[in-house]
Symmetry: C4
Subunit: 249 residues, 4 copies
């Protein structure tokens, strides 16, 4: 097995400008939930499968009882004006070297389809529950900033202070070295749980930047379920706190 293996399952044709959209697992699973949701709403086809020794040595079970090696995948969708390539999957690299090698692999695939613009969707962990998550952004070219701001993305020079770690930032930065425009959209998230609310916020900004009219209904339904679960947690904490106070008192 090669360190990074990509297997193409379809031709490399694309209609109109080609756009890569990455949504890999990460904090709050924000990017993964957003892109998984898009693929549930669209009729896309799988065009590539990626395996790597930099992925964890892991298999995942399918509902029919079979298993498969962890992998990432690229799915293609042709909108009226563009061709979208969605990068989704099970994992990021477990080592720094692997992160670089895999990002280059994703970009090789993007070049095959003539991609000129790359989006990466992800989460930005703030360590506390967020009622109305902002979508923090970073881009590869200054002129993209206005475009993203008009779509509702925020740029906070002080955040994220320590840089963006992982595939979302790396893919657009390495893509920039190949001449691709890159936009990274990160929804604020507590990071404690899967966060569909943050994913919906990211998706709203993302859709305004493309011609994809993705309904967020199902995602918002999932966000509401998660909110109810969280509300129960909060209620439980309030009760326990009161009990403790009355005990002390």
């Amino acid at each position: 097995m090669e360190p990074v293996e990509i297997r193409y399952l379809a031709d490399e044709s694309s209609d109109g400008p080609a756009i890569l959209v990455g949504g890999l697992p990460g904090i709050g699973q924000v990017g993964k939930v957003a892109v998984d949701h898009i693929l549930n709403e669209l009729e896309a086809e799988k065009v590539a499968e990626i395996h790597s020794v930099y992925f964890p040595p892991q298999v995942v079970s399918r509902p029919d009882g079979t298993c498969r090696l962890v992998s990432n995948e690229v799915w293609r969708y042709r909108s009226p004006t563009s061709t979208y390539l969605f990068l989704i999957g099970d994992c990021q690299s477990v080592s720094p070297e692997g992160h670089y090698a895999l990002a280059e692999c994703y970009l090789d695939c993007a070049e095959r389809y003539g991609v000129k613009r790359v989006f990466t969707l992800g989460g930005y962990g703030v360590g506390h529950l967020v009622d109305d998550p902002r979508v923090l952004s970073t881009v590869t070219h200054p002129h993209l900033r206005t475009v993203v701001e008009e779509a509702g993305g925020s740029f906070e020079p002080e955040e994220p202070g320590s840089g963006i770690i992982g595939a979302a930032g790396l893919i657009i930065a390495l893509g920039g070295r190949r001449g691709m425009e890159g936009i990274c959209l990160m929804g604020e998230t507590s990071g404690y749980l899967i966060d569909p609310k943050s994913a919906a916020a990211v998706l709203r900004v993302f859709c305004r930047l493309t011609d994809l009219g993705i309904s967020r209904d199902r995602l918002q339904g999932r966000a509401e379920d998660m909110e109810q679960a969280l509300e129960q947690v909060r209620e439980f904490e309030r009760v326990r706190q009161n009990d403790e106070l009355s005990y002390i008192g």
Copy 2:
């Protein structure tokens, strides 16, 4: 020394269909105990020895005072209808890259003997003592599911939720890419101790899937010894709990 070294100690002949059975160290040592037990009951011959820089830098002592480098081994046994290759040994890889390289090595060996079906035996950690361990399973091909269920294996779509990490899953998944059928049998185990009871449960399912009539008597004796030890632990915990209760009371 090469990253992974396999030394063959015998010809590559096999009679009837060849079957690989992996039982490497892991949680509760379930797979290792099961396959070590099989080899104690059969007259098998060692056919290959594997060393690797991905193994820990470790030697193990033999009863005669000598030591040897940690290694994994392959043993061959010819049943009336099939040839079995048992993969046993001291360790799994210490790095993700090593896991992939070693799994490929085991499968190279399997191909040499014309293996068409691969079993891997292991444990599935649940974090609490289990009275009657189920044998959770995953397979490479849908038609194997019925076969395994009829032999007493379980398929729980929700378990193991986070995937199966390590050699047991990796070997069958990478074997599937080479066209081999794969069955992974994982006995539920607390994971706290060596678990011969879980190994016996795995063995029962395994034997029904093969023509190997392995007595589990000795294994069950060992499981009973372990149960007695555990019973003492439980008794001790009960006493202590009562003491605490009466103290509080």
Copy 3:
């Protein structure tokens, strides 16, 4: 992407003896703060950019909302008598192998410019606040000791007891193997916070060893701001301690 990539942005000319000065991130950010300060005071030009898979998989945001891959850089400044090459940047390696590979890369760059002497500036963590930080030193050649002592550097045979870990020591030691003279200057620092006072102490010794007349005013201003912040911490601790004492009393 190559494991270590250096991209040269200018010719390799140098006037007079060439000198490499390394100030990479590290304990108390002492070396980084010192060399960043020098570059703020001088008109230097960027001559090389280094990327590496041994760096963390990270991007950093710029004030204009764009981001860039983490990197280290080399800047050139021609003083009346010498040519200085300043090595600064975002990070050190995340693995031992990477540390060695990157140090060799920095020295390849130094050789290109004919460097004969290498300085590395850094911190020496002592785990407590230091009022008047010494500048502990180590050198590659015995005759350099007197030179450094005359400039105010200290040599304590017992310190640092466990050796110097990271780029500052490695660069001069590997440079010594290439025939370059090396001087490592480490300002004592608590290691708790960015430490401009320690950086100023290092800079004072460093400037006496070169013909660079760098004003330390701005650095000392920054050190005073930090002192005020620290004073508030100390005051807070005194108050709390008194409270605790009166409670016990």
Copy 4:
């Protein structure tokens, strides 16, 4: 820089049978202290120096204020009947792969001098203070067991249960694959502190197995100093324990 570099400083001549003796840093520094002591007592010459990217990225200070890259070294001593090669130095590998690569390097060096027997000296951590440390042993060939037992070494089939991790075991096991006889002598040690008493015990067994008449006086002096330091620790603990008891009482 190559992953592992050995630089030879002398010809490869040896008189009589050649013997490699390894004493690298490790638990209680037992092996290092023992071999450092031997070299203090003998007139040996340095014949090789080893650097490696698998060593920590570290330099160590010399008393004259200069520093050097961490390294291991081989020193040669010709006794009336044999040639000894002593392997000493600053470190072991930081990764499993490095451990294997370095052990092969040491053995390449041994082969250059025609070594037929390898000793490795080290510690065996027991986690509590030991009054009269045994010297636990393991060998590559069964006939060596009697030889070692007659010299005072112990063989405990149950110890060390989890195998011997690190260079001491690896060197003799990999040497065995090259046809060299190997003897590993491990002094019991608490592992808390540098343990010259354990080193002296190892040395006593080692000397009986060679024609080296090494005085252990200085080593025992050092052990007594350490004992006094330990006695103060014990006394302090007794006092504190009594205080606590009287407080409870």
